[in-house]
Symmetry: none
């Protein structure tokens, strides 16, 4: 199975969402991270119709499947996970932190369909909804402000799922190693800079100590070949202009 | 420093955001993940006022600081990171994937203030904005649908920052790192260098493009506070000498 096939096995299930903007935001995050199957349970009808028929509604949203109960919406899934902002104490089911939970979901996606449930903006998932879940997952937010916006919660969960999923998403090209400037150029730059500092009066007289100070400074810049060349050109021009015979040009 | 103190050093900077809902969503995600300092640059005024005065507006939003330019908004930060949905190919600065970038930001938060920039909903950060950044960070979204909703992008970035937070910070790297120069000094150096390049004839005329080129070059030098000060002194003296009235001294 490719990663795309596996991601296609995830059902994002929004239960009793009221705000069409949040449903749209959930659909957008799904598309961003490569998930396509959106299910809604008892949405606020008018809002859902509106979100769906809006100009620019995403494919994911247009093809969303509507259900009358959580039971029906998760019927074809072999793992059902509910999201919650509530701490472990108050719950009757095991709670996994998002990073650990996402790893378990990824394992399961290699084998079959998984439903990930999100509750309504106001009250989240009810006990009845939670009872359909094998376990619960919590995004690690601050104790003092646990409850997240629905669209943001969906985005964060799907990011975490896709992040560890494989190297396919976003891995792309290896980091560009910069080609470091040869010492020859670095030393030429150093000497030109010393000359310019002297011509400008920054250095009174030349000394081994001041040369070394500038040399160490230039090395700390860690220049790549291109930048070294540009800086050489800049300092050369300034030095030329600093020479008395050219200063009136 | 506690983790809370370190998170307090992050400035989330929203540049030219138009939608008050997105500004509110960004503030909410900050509160969820324990970050408090929100800055807005040239927001759509009516929308920003509306979001701020809404019933239930968060503390974070009410205390948000408003700026007229990116330069001012990042002046006290020693690392400036821009977020982008664009791939590496089209950009002129290094791009880190969110997970790697977040680790670098956490390291820096142990030492000083960091700005994390988010662009407008429509066009993201412009080249002028990006030129103030040391490097860029990309959320690994699908090639076919890269661009995220602003509130969701903020949530995902802050989740990733907070997620590894305690582990990485607890590990306590030895403080061999250099104290980076604040952006205020880096920008002053940039402007002095541009003036000196113009006075020397290296630049014919001043333009936004040439300003940005020099700005990016200076950021690539990754200066620490001491070296920035030394270079400021050097360029200032050269500029003084390059001015015609001082050239005969």
């Amino acid at each position: 199975l490719t990663q795309g096939d596996q991601f296609g096995r995830l059902r994002v299930v929004l239960v009793r969402s009221r705000n069409p903007l949040n449903i749209g935001a959930a659909a957008r995050a799904m598309s961003n991270f490569g998930f396509s199957c959106l299910r809604v349970v008892k949405p606020y009808e008018a809002g859902f119709r509106e979100a769906r028929s809006a100009v620019g509604a995403s494919e994911t949203l247009i093809r969303a499947e509507q259900y009358e109960s959580v039971a029906e919406a998760v019927a074809d899934c072999s793992l059902v996970v509910g999201t919650t902002s509530v701490g472990r104490r108050e719950l009757q089911q095991p709670v996994e932190r998002l990073d650990a939970g996402a790893a378990l979901i990824r394992e399961q996606l290699a084998l079959g369909r998984v439903a990930l449930l999100f509750g309504s903006e106001k009250i989240g998932l009810r006990n009845e909804d939670l009872s359909h879940c094998h376990w619960l997952m919590r995004i690690p937010t601050r104790e003092a402000h646990r409850s997240m916006n629905l669209g943001q919660a969906v985005a964060v969960c799907l990011y975490e799922l896709a992040r560890g999923g494989s190297v396919a998403i976003g891995a792309g090209k290896p980091p560009v190693q910069k080609r470091r400037a040869p010492s020859r150029d670095i030393e030429r730059l150093t000497m030109l800079l010393v000359d310019a500092l002297q011509a400008s009066g920054y250095l009174d007289a030349r000394s081994a100590a001041s040369d070394q100070k500038v040399r160490r400074l230039v090395r700390r810049l860690n220049l790549d070949a291109g930048d070294a060349e540009v800086l050489l050109g800049m300092v050369r021009q300034m030095l030329w202009k600093l020479e008395p015979r050219n200063s009136r040009a």
